[in-house]
């Protein structure tokens, strides 16, 4: 989201045209009610994000002492929270100085006043909500809507619930990158083009998901160690995890189906699915080690990518798929019960 905003603000035009671009944006805000409403919505969403951030912080154990502020006089806390909120809202308030300047210079007095009052209202509303929380320790349920998918059940369900609840941003970022890349390659290839072009793009798309595997491993270490005491075979555990990673790539598979008949045949599509699962499981298997040095992991991913890159170029993707699936299975079979996470002191 921040990247999108940054791109709109600074990436749309050349640096020499930035000032005139922003001036045009601000003037558009004053001359178009629709555009002004859009900006107000964006500011409201940002203000809401600030509110959720502060409320989340206040509920963390390390910030519990801040709740003692509720002992202060009401107006004093309100003033302090209002100032904190203004600081958090500073990017908007800072930019608004230019909005006010343009508005006043072009005699949009009423609109400038509306904008000022709207921003103050956002900060005051946030301050009031946070003050209410400090005084009552009660969060309005509409502030923290819970998205709960129907349970898939089993291990796959555990992973899905985890991503939906805790790693939405990570998931969205990897999807944004991989789907954008695949769509771009798809649009610029035509029937009869070499399958390897899409294959290499697919490799990049898979690599963008590898940091999700790190998160899965951390989740397993924290919350799923007790499942090692259950009578679940390594084979079943491997297949379930393989199925989860395949499910994770379901949007990409869906996009790829449009290529069947053009740059991709049905057998090749099936190989891509199995290759993807094997690739993810190979990285998953590597992470079944107690000392997970980030530098070593990055180097491992780099060499895995390079090796896969050249093997795909050599049109040996089927062989690569078999090697990845087989070796990941053997690694997990060997390491699963021998693995124990390091407890940080």
């Amino acid at each position: 989201m921040l990247f999108f905003v940054f791109y709109v603000m600074f990436g749309m035009v050349e640096s020499g045209q930035l000032i005139s671009y922003h001036r045009a944006l601000i003037e558009g805000m004053f001359s178009s009610v629709f555009f002004q409403v859009c900006i107000f919505i964006i500011w409201t969403l940002y203000s809401f994000k600030i509110l959720l951030f502060i409320l989340t912080l206040l509920r963390q154990p390390g910030y519990q002492f801040v709740n003692d502020a509720s002992l202060l006089p009401r107006m004093k806390i309100f003033g302090l929270i209002f100032i904190i909120n203004c600081f958090a809202f500073l990017p908007v308030l800072g930019y608004s100085i230019f909005i006010y300047q343009v508005g006043l210079s072009q005699q949009f007095y009423i609109s400038t006043l509306y904008i000022f009052l709207f921003q103050i209202a956002l900060c005051l509303t946030n301050a009031w909500l946070i003050l209410t929380y400090l005084k009552t320790q009660h969060i309005f349920t509409w502030l923290t809507p819970q998205v709960r998918l129907p349970s898939f059940g089993g291990r796959i369900g555990f992973y899905v619930s985890y991503f939906v609840k805790d790693e939405k941003i990570a998931l969205l970022l990897s999807k944004l990158f991989s789907l954008t890349l695949l769509y771009f390659v798809k649009e610029n290839t035509s029937e009869g083009d070499d399958f390897r072009i899409m294959g290499l793009a697919w490799l990049f798309a898979l690599s963008s998901h590898t940091f999700l595997i790190l998160k899965i491993r951390a989740f397993e270490d924290r919350y799923l160690l007790w499942t090692k005491a259950l009578p679940v075979s390594v084979n079943k555990m491997y297949l379930l995890t393989f199925a989860f990673y395949s499910l994770l790539l379901w949007p990409e598979f869906l996009l790829l189906t449009t290529e069947i008949g053009d740059t991709l045949t049905v057998p090749e599509f099936i190989i891509v699915i199995i290759f993807s699962g094997g690739f993810m499981m190979f990285v998953h298997a590597y992470l079944l080690k107690p000392n997970r040095n980030p530098d070593q992991f990055s180097m491992y991913l780099f060499w895995l990518f390079i090796a896969s890159f050249f093997i795909i170029l050599s049109k040996l993707i089927t062989l690569l798929t078999i090697v990845l699936c087989l070796s990941s299975f053997l690694m997990i079979s060997k390491r699963y019960y021998e693995y124990e996470p390091i407890v940080n002191e």
Binding site: S151, G153, V234
Partner: protein, 210 residues
């Protein structure tokens, strides 16, 4: 019967526990020892969670050679359980039920007996430590295991739940199920019948039969 041979466990270079040979007959045993003595490590090794050197057999089933078969015979309830916070108690119960091929009737009986039905449909992330403990203990009783490992089963539980738990343990004892129970406090006065005590001290484990 549980038999342990040449068992040793190290964290880095620190030897935590060493058992040259230990045979624990069927029955109920209290595992006692000070903080950091290795009681939980021993239970986790027997449960199959913790890697180790050596061998562990339960009724001649080798933990390392027959991991699935072994784990069908055993259950473990942690001292401080941690479950995925976004899942509900019922989802976890269903998961364990499926892995242990337990009947729905058994699950219903356990939920009603332990009286936890009023909170198991809520996400585990909102549970108190006592509620987590109750859920963990219930999960350990799911299935048809021969040995149940309970790590500090009485901590964080309310006074209403403890008699229910002790009564259920006595019932399972009469069915021939064995228990290994760790506790810092003397658990011998809880009206449970113990066959012996296992002391864990200075990395060594000693069995005293009553």
């Amino acid at each position: 019967m549980l038999s342990v041979k040449n068992l040793s466990k190290k964290y880095d270079t620190n030897l935590v526990i060493q058992v040259p040979e230990l045979t624990i007959p069927n029955g109920t045993f209290w595992i006692e020892g000070g903080n950091g003595s290795g009681k939980t490590t021993l239970l986790k090794i027997i449960a199959g969670i913790c890697p180790f050197e050596g061998s562990v057999h339960l009724n001649n089933i080798d933990l390392k050679q027959s991991p699935v078969h072994y784990r069908k015979e055993i259950s473990y309830a942690e001292a401080e359980p941690q479950f995925p916070p976004e899942l509900t108690g019922s989802e976890l119960i269903l998961f364990v039920q499926k892995t242990k091929s337990a009947s729905t009737a058994q699950i219903t009986t356990l939920i009603n007996y332990f009286n936890i039905g009023h909170f198991i449909n809520r996400p585990v992330g909102g549970y108190s430590s006592g509620m987590l403990k109750k859920l963990s203990i219930l999960l350990a009783f799911i299935g048809s295991q021969k040995l149940i490992l309970l790590d500090e089963p009485l901590i964080t539980l309310d006074n209403d739940f403890i008699p229910l738990l002790l009564s259920h343990i006595r019932e399972k004892q009469s069915e021939g199920i064995s228990f290994l129970i760790t506790s810092h406090q003397a658990i011998e006065n809880t009206m449970l019948s113990f066959n012996g005590k296992i002391s864990v001290r200075n990395q060594l484990v000693k069995l005293d039969m009553y």
